[in-house]
Amino acid sequence: MMIKVNISADIVGEPIIAESIIETGTILNISQAHFDSNHGEIIAEVEMSQFPKIRDALISRGAEVAILDNPIMRDEEECVECGACISVCPVKVFSFDREWNLQIDADKCIQCGTCLKMCPHNALILEV
């Protein structure tokens, strides 16, 4: 499952991700991270069975944890199935089947949003 961890300004300098990983022994597969002086944000994949442990560890250190369960969606009216999205996706969500229909494997989506800008027809939607 995909999760988003938000770290506020007052604790952004502290190693709370590393501490939580070490404390719980949970593997976090971090796919995106953004930090500046005001705020930190991490998108990561975690085993569903391990999620409660790491969530509690992160929250106890002041982070906010949200489950990302709104993967990329396609507006079928707008989409012309060109496939522009295919090559910019870091996790290969998009592909063609044998008849050149665009296929979406939404389970893989890490909600990075790169494909939104690539789509010439504004046909991809990410609700965060």
Binding site: V80, E81, A84, V88, T114, K117, P120, H121
Partner: protein, 500 residues
């Protein structure tokens, strides 16, 4: 030798005995029967393409207002159209952007909205004459209110097009889509096996007056397109169609992030199989069509070629560049191209579409020249300061501070022992180090991700990079990555002042 006339083929369309196949289906037919057998068997091969065609637009006639106006400027949903022809005619071009919405809405969107029957806000101004006294006009209308809405696309249906990648170290936004740094992806356009001009590369059947599928209706080729360059296999078409008969299934507005708007045009051209030479040409496959992968990271007319690939490779999902497999994206829709070729086939089979004899074939000997420019193209090396002071990355930060103070430079490029660039240190970096009581070496306090210019870059490119990155100076490098100068926004301001 098989010879068939257009008249003969049309009589078969008339009596329903015509044999029509798509260009995809024709590949196997020619393989099985040979060109001679295929030419006897097949009367028409249909092609199709559906992709971004920026050089597209529509002539509109609004009818006369009361009192009448000779429009000198006009906006449709805040998108300017060209009206320098008589009183109430205007050309709305696909790539013109909205004055309020910017890249989110442009001429292409106005065209799609017209086809969809939506209302369009019209605002026009004029200087007023005795015969056209009105100076200002505001109204709302839709496609049914117009006398004519005639699509005239000056350059459509490129025979083939370059594929694009990005060798630079930052993401770029182009009319070929988002290109990831370090050749992270390749984008391409064109229908390959179904591409109209690739199926008649010698223009034996295509020319002025050829009837075609355009935007879901019957349109015509009215000649070669602008930049038609058949000698490099970059032929283009100028086409005409009635927007009032078109469908938004086949004409779609698009926005390319950071570039602007464009129009996806659906076009299909029937190739009448008049002889076996034409039949053989329609057996072309994706593997037979090659194109160059160009580095769009180089902002020049002459982009370096990084690889030569076939459409078969492009459509496989990855192409190899310098030993690395790079993922590909098509910017045009093959599924739609196939749908168009199929629909045109049904029209011909059903007797609703007749092929036509061109009045004149497309020219085969023209080429596309670059622009003649009056000003010499100034390069960074022409305006940069060559008296650049650098500092070694292993020097102390005290030495950097001293160098800055002694020379009154605010930017100090940092170099490695061999003279190649390592970073940049500014008066601010030094102040910061002092404030943090961080008295280290230059390499510890410098900015490592330094934005640089190449000596051979055009000045316009350097100006854009300074602007995009909010910088006032960039070190200039030669091809060996050695620092040979510095270019500042000051240098560029002075150049502009001199020009004016």
């Amino acid at each position: 030798m098989v010879e068939k006339s257009i008249k003969e083929i049309n009589s078969r369309i008339e009596d329903g005995s015509v044999n029509v196949v798509t260009a995809e289906e024709m590949v196997d037919i020619v393989a099985d029967l040979g060109a001679d057998g295929a030419a006897k068997e097949v009367d028409v091969v249909t092609t199709g393409t559906f992709g971004a065609m920026c050089s597209s637009g529509v002539w509109l006639n609004f009818g006369h207002s009361e009192p009448p106006i000779k429009m000198s400027k006009i906006w449709l949903n805040e998108v300017e159209a060209y009206t320098g022809v008589a009183a109430v005619d205007a050309f709305i071009g696909a790539t013109q952007l909205s004055e309020t919405e910017g890249m989110n809405y442009g001429g292409a969107h106005v065209i799609e909205d017209l086809i969809r029957g939506k209302s369009i806000d019209v605002h026009a101004t004029a200087y007023g004459t005795d015969c056209y006294p009105r100076k200002l006009l505001d109204t709302t209308l839709n496609i049914y209110d117009l006398n004519q809405a005639i699509m005239i696309n000056p350059r459509n249906a490129y025979q083939k097009y370059n594929a694009a990648t990005n060798g630079s170290n930052h993401k770029i936004y182009t009319y070929m889509g988002t290109l990831l740094p370090s050749c992270g992806n390749v984008t391409y356009s064109g229908a390959g096996v179904l591409s109209p001009l690739c199926n008649d590369p010698n223009y034996e059947t295509i020319g002025i007056g050829s009837r075609i599928f355009l935007g879901g209706s019957q349109g015509y080729i009215i000649g070669e397109g602008t930049q038609h360059s058949p000698q490099n296999n970059f032929g283009t078409l100028m086409v005409r169609g009635n927007l009032k008969e078109m469908s938004s299934d086949y004409i779609r507005a698009a926005t390319f992030e950071g570039y602007g708007t464009s129009l996806y045009v659906g076009m299909g051209i029937p190739i009448p199989i008049i002889n076996e030479r034409v039949a053989l040409a329609t057996a072309i496959t994706d593997a037979d069509i090659t194109t160059n992968v160009l580095d769009y990271g180089v902002p020049s007319r002459d982009r370096p070629k990084l690889a030569e690939v076939t459409y078969e490779e492009l459509r496989s999902g990855t192409v190899e560049i310098n030993g690395k497999d790079i993922p590909t994206s098509s910017m045009s829709s093959f599924k739609m191209a196939r749908k168009i070729a199929g629909e045109l086939k049904q029209w011909i089979k059903g007797g609703d579409f007749f092929v036509s004899e061109p009045v004149e074939l497309l020219p085969k000997n023209t080429s596309c020249k670059p622009m003649k420019q009056r000003d010499r193209n100034l390069l960074v090396k022409d305006i940069m300061s060559t008296e650049v002071i650098t500092i070694n990355q292993d020097a102390t930060f005290h030495k950097a501070a001293k160098t800055i103070v002694e020379n009154a430079y605010t930017h100090l490029p940092v170099v490695k022992k061999d003279g190649t660039i390592a970073g940049i240190v500014t008066a601010w970096d030094i102040s910061k180090a002092v404030a943090e009581e961080n008295y280290k070496l230059v390499k510890d306090i410098m900015t490592k991700k330094v934005i640089t210019a190449n000596a051979t870059d055009p000045v316009e490119v350097a100006a854009r990079n300074l602007d995009l990155n909010g910088l006032s100076a960039m070190p200039v490098l030669n091809s060996k990555q050695e620092v040979i100068g510095i270019v500042t926004s000051d240098d560029i301001s002075k150049l502009i002042a001199r020009r004016q």
